[in-house]
């Protein structure tokens, strides 16, 4: 009996150890990139959008965030939800959040809760409730409606504008 207890104890430590290392390796790889959106003229003389490194970033510039989620494992990932915060120096550009097969919601409380735009209200100092504006959003959530099968990847994105002082 003492032997069995010992074996079980060893087994538990071993499982904890292996469970620990196993738990660190997820099956989804998440990439988040920021670009500055600029307008350039192509060879045909048309004005097109281009995305460049935001090395020079000034108030008024449009920043394009693109987040890619990829299933690098062998089993499907389910109930996939992507959250992306909006830095305080940026204001969300209305209507710019996109993601194929996703339901998109926004947060105005720093990512604690999310809801659709018409259900978001801010309360001012007098207690009056106002419909939240895009510049009040502090995070975006994309709820992926499908399973993410092994090898599949999806992309979500949004645009935000660098605020000028006092905005």
């Amino acid at each position: 009996m003492k032997n069995l207890n010992f074996i079980i104890a060893m087994l538990i430590s071993f499982l904890m150890f292996s469970a620990q290392s196993f738990a660190e390796e997820g099956n989804v790889k998440l990439t988040n990139k920021a670009f500055k959106q600029v307008i350039k003229t192509n060879d045909k003389g048309e004005k097109v959008l281009d995305y460049i490194d935001p090395a020079l970033a000034l108030p008024g510039d449009v920043i394009f965030y693109t987040t890619t989620f990829e299933n690098i494992g062998k089993e499907p990932a389910t109930k996939v939800v992507i959250n992306n915060p909006i830095h305080g120096n940026l204001k969300y550009r209305q209507g710019s959040a996109t993601g194929k097969d996703t339901e998109i919601k926004f947060s105005i409380d720093g990512g604690v809760s999310y809801d659709s735009p018409e259900k978001l209200f801010v309360t001012d100092k007098t207690g009056k409730k106002w419909a939240a504006k895009p510049e009040d959003y502090t995070a975006i959530r994309w709820i992926y409606k499908k399973q993410l099968l092994p090898g599949e990847k999806g992309t979500v994105s949004f645009r935000a504008i660098i605020r000028k002082p006092g905005e």
């Binding site: 079980i8 099956n27 990139k33 089993e75 830095h87």
Partner: protein
Amino acid sequence: MRDLLKIILETQLHYVHRAQLLCVRKATGFIRSIVLLISAAGLYGLAGNVHAAAGDVISNTATVDYFFQAVPFTVESSPTGNAVAGIGNGVATTFTEDRLVNFNVVSNDATTVVVNSGQVSAVLTFTVTNVGGAPGMGSNGPLDFLLTAVNTSPNPFGGLADTFDPNAPMRVFVEDGTTPGTYQPAEDTAVFIDELAPNNSRTVYVVVDIPATVVATEISAVALVAQVVEGGAAGQGAVINSDDNGHVSPAGIYSNGATNVAAGVVNNVADTAGLETIFNDPAGIQPEDADSTGAVTDIAANGQHSDVGAFEVSGSPVTINKSVTVIDTFGGTDPHVGATLRYQLDVIIVGAGGVNNLVITDPVPANTTYTPGSISLSGPTPLNPVFASFNGGLNQIEVDLSEGMTRTITVADSPVTITFDVTIN
């Protein structure tokens, strides 16, 4: 045994994953939201950062929550792709908000500031504004400014020409706010502008001594030049005499002689993930920069701006001195009946401008009679005697130096000497 192992395995997995999620499902909603807020604090900011400023690192990390084999996972993002689950294993996506510089200097004086010859501490007033308004055009952070006063020309208000410079050295001081509206030597002692936030202004005084040798109507045009300096901390920051767009500032001596700034060196290094500065100041009105050789101009985007004010010496440009000599019929100087009085008017013109419509009139004194034809005119320039006459009806001498409103009299014509004789009745 196998069932026991399976139960242990599943229990251990659940324990570890739940702990890593930092989210205890059976806790109350209140505790859960506190925990989420603490973990999210590093990732999320408050909306509307009123201090949105140059130098801020704009950072965010996305997360993906999902289930794999009925077990929940959270993975943070990285710019190149992260697959290691657990909060804290991602890498933030970052870039730096760069610095735009836009500011201006405007003279507060709507016209010349009238001073007296030899006056000390005469003052011109200017406003320096850190322009923050237009997005992508205005400054996005606090700035310091170095200041200097520079002699310039022409008279910014038109008209009379710029003819003198105040005595050196001219001084510049910043209004400290204790008694706004006027220069107070004991209060307004700062020699540079410290920590001017966007959309804010400071009042600056240029203080000079007027030479004792100047005369009425003389003008001195003086400019205030402001040079941009890093803000963000109390005290004078580092001068920004070149930006990252190939623009430079000219050299100058600021802070009443205490700060010597070399000309900037062109920097065309490619933009980085760190802080770059872009000059977006407008071209100054005054044509000379702090270098003041006349060769450098206050062009747009050079980290400087300037405006011009002017002093004007008060007083009339025309002075008339009158004297009389008695010519005695007996050859002496006794003013008796029949004696001749010879009057002399010296008309003196000062200043750089001209006097138009200058007509001198002098009534013949009571108890005397004008000696016909005795008017004479003389001066350094030719004067038309047709316009010097005796008006019998008004009993006065009239000399129209404007020659029928066709001539402007200047200092070159000065002094005009008019003489005429009367006899004592």
